[in-house]
Amino acid sequence: MIAPLISIRGVTKRYPGVLALDDVSFDVYPGDFHAIVGENGAGKSTLMKILAGVVTEFDGEILLRGQPMRFRGTRDAEQAGVSIIHQELNLVEQISAAANIFLGRELRGRFGLLDERAMRSAAADLLGQLECRVRPEQPVSTLRVGDQQLVEIAKALSLKSEILIMDEPTSALTESEVERLFRVINRLRSQGVTILYISHKMDEVFANANRVTVLRDGRHVQTLAAADASPRQITHAMVGREIEETDLSAPRQPGDVVLEVENLSLPWPGHARAFRLENISFSLRRGEIVGIAGLMGAGRTELLECLFGAAPQRPQGRLSLAGREVRFRHPADARRAGLALVTEDRKRLGLFAHLNVADNINICTLGEAASAGVLSYRREIERATEIANRLGVKSAGVRAAITSLSGGNQQKAIIGRWLLTRPQVLLLDDPTRGIDVGAKAELYRLMDRLCRDGLAILVTSSELPELLTVSDRILVLCEGRKTAEFTRAEATEQRIMEAATRRTDAA
């Protein structure tokens, strides 16, 4: 029996009001590809941050090669050979790839001046090992997400890390980039690097990992050899209950066309591609859910922003709402015309963290809770309570802080905010991002119900099974162009993926 490389012993981490990790213990053996799986909020990221010295205050103990370790920062961790690649990359975009790799440990030549040549050639070496064909002097901002990630991995390699932690590294990658990443990971493993890998994606986990640890609600459920487990078993352990199959099979009856988009293009000044979106046409009917599929950067968010009058440039093309041509210069125009947009980045673009649930719900329709501009608290509370009850927002009342709600309930509150505007068209940008499985099913049923009441819904998602569950039709975007449109019957994951990568790899 080999000695474990890392032993996690009774690790507990408490945030105000939340127990993020509750007495978690398991071992990681040298050379493993050890996957950590669990729903959102299960504590995966927190645990990894503790291992990497990002989070320094916790109870319990971590043994590294049998020695108790307590990192006081990422620097400590890096010296001990532990590096983390965060989901949101930690690069300084303005400076070059080489400068990023050596940030904080710059090579110096005579007189203590920077030795750019040495850094550049060392960076070129590292990037070469990773099959990354970028020049070391290129600013990071000009790199694709997949290459940026390899720059981070190169940085970890330059630190001679023995343990590499990766937090959902494939969520922004194209298929060929994912393949390259796993080739790189396998090469690193053959050199003795241990990989700790957080993921949601069962196929990735089972194709690569040799051990799997399941966390749920901050607790350790089990750690088992991948060979002994089935995806179904793991999913069951993650959720702790059978996932109820969301049955939305009863056919909906779409009505008249409510939104008609013709040759919509969005210019992209100063960029080689010239257009973020190019010649997109489609229509949306009342009582219909149309899904938009595409990889990161395909233009899903841009398309919704364009429709909502929130695009950075003025779009070209024709947009008609219920037969009348419209042109939105500001989200206020779109809202008045009956459009509603639930944004992808809830924290940055949707929530008002300082305000309570009622304020967050009422913010778009404050005028209706006021007479002559003066608000009536009573009416505000009534309106918020009514919609919160209708959508099943679980909270300690509408006066509770919005940040005290779970992701799924925050999302429902934001949908409630927009339902109060009585929209004709609801635009949902990846509405289940960061929401756990149970809440997802609830959102699907909500969408179905709203749709049956006559709302038209345009929804994007990064998860194909989700789009296949909820949509009547699916549009596929690839690099700003519409490459396919499928009815529910025609659509399969395989066909959508093909359409979504049609041009990416040629470019």
Binding site: P331, F352, N362, I363, A370, T403
Partner: protein, 407 residues
């Protein structure tokens, strides 16, 4: 200095949260008065409370008038650095309009009420225009608020001076850079403590209504808390900013009129110099977050009261050098108040103030500041003893901190 909810300091709502900032400030005012009253060898707070109250209130309400405007901008997520210059420019405009309307009356010191009203209207209009300029620079030209209002901070004062000089040359054939406003009736009215308190209370009540009870106020909080989300909620953020910067500039120009009445002269070179920082300090002490989205009007009013109470009581204790230390006191109060509010939050737990080499340098710097103050106020012996005591005390704090951190 926002109040922590029972379980989670980040999960409180700014507008409705318990009033702990306000209560804390009110208590702090009382404590400062009690301490200063006992330290003061003349015991002027006990012997003549009326005069002291008058003095503190007079300064509080005039600071309050322009601090209110400043606070609205800060709550909306911006900053207005031009307030001091706007006070000067407002005062200059007021005097210049009066002079232009009737050079004769200005000399004799008997102004027509109609002229006063006209001049006041013109001054507020100028405030509106400057606020609109700020809003335009920020929303259309897309300058950061810091840059836009820094430009007017520098520009308005010199424009005011040039304007006063030109009007003096044209109408009075003098090259003076100031205009005297001598009318005793106007001055008596403006300098009456009751007029001032009434003006401030009415203004504060209106601002309080605006921020807590109206659609616009709620949107200003939303704008300051999350600008992108506010825009994506279909709210015209540029109009909200327009309102906020206009309120700020108009409050400042109103304060300019009051200062002209107080000093009986409009001198754009010196009037209101540096007052923008006092306004920002009062807002921050009163619980506004410079990140935006957080703050209350009563808090700002109490912040003004607290700042002026501290200044006044230190003057009472050290007797001489009244205005010399005002900036220093404001600086210290802001640092202490904000540090205290952070310490109350979760972020303060386990925080080390004096770690590493920077910690040692900070300890020496703070001890030197303490020694310098003692030297100025008491004498050389006290400075040496006090400085060493501060050094020893802070070193002890550092030692304790590092032990806590390693435990």
């Amino acid at each position: 200095m926002s109040s922590p909810a029972p379980h989670d300091s980040s999960s409180h709502s700014s507008v409705w949260a318990g009033r702990s900032t306000e209560v804390g400030l009110a208590l702090a005012v009382v404590v400062v008065l009690l301490v200063a009253g006992s330290l003061d060898s003349n015991h002027s707070y006990w012997r003549d409370p009326g005069a002291s109250a008058h003095e503190i209130l007079r300064k509080t309400v005039i600071l309050g008038i322009f601090a209110l405007g400043s606070a609205v901008v800060i709550i909306a997520g911006g900053i207005d650095l031009s307030i001091g210059s706007m006070i000067a420019f407002g005062g200059a405009t007021f005097a210049a309009v009066l002079l232009a309307l009737s050079p004769q009356n200005m000399k004799s010191g008997h102004l027509a009420p109609g002229h006063l009203a006209l001049a006041t209207g013109a001054t507020l209009l100028v405030g509106f225009l400057v606020g609109s300029l700020h809003a335009w620079l920020i929303t259309a030209v897309r300058l950061p608020p810091f840059v836009a209002t820094l430009a007017t901070l520098v520009g308005l004062r010199s424009l005011g001076r040039a304007m006063v000089e030109a009007i003096n040359r044209g109408l009075l054939h003098s090259s003076s850079t100031q205009i005297n406003v001598l009318d005793p009736v106007f001055r008596g009215w403006v300098n009456s403590i009751w007029t001032r308190v009434a003006a401030f209370v009415i203004l504060a009540a209106l601002f309080w209504l605006l921020m807590t009870r109206t659609v616009v106020g709620r949107r200003l909080f939303a704008l300051g808390g999350n600008e992108a989300a506010t825009r994506l909620s279909g709210i015209r953020t540029e109009r909200l900013k327009w309102l906020a910067y206009c309120l700020s500039a108009m409050c400042a120009s109103l304060a300019g009129i009051l200062y002209v009445g107080e000093q009986s002269v409009a001198d754009p070179q010196t009037l209101g110099r540096g007052y923008e920082l006092n306004a920002i300090a009062a807002a921050v002490v009163g619980g506004c977050s410079l990140q935006g989205g957080v703050g209350t009007i009563p808090g700002v009013a109490l912040g003004c009261l607290f700042l002026n109470t501290v200044i006044d009581s230190i003057n009472k204790v050290i007797k001489s050098g009244a205005d010399l230390y005002e900036g220093l006191i404001v600086g210290i109060v802001v640092v202490v108040a904000v540090t205290y509010s952070q310490l109350r939050g979760a972020a303060g737990r386990g925080k080390q103030f004096f770690a590493g080499a920077l910690g040692w340098v900070a300890i020496v710097t703070l001890a030197l500041i303490a020694a310098a103050l003692l030297a100025l106020w008491i004498g050389r012996g006290a400075a040496l003893a006090g400085g060493l005591a501060a050094l020893a005390l802070l070193a002890l704090v550092r030692f304790w901190e590092s032990r806590q951190a390693n435990a």
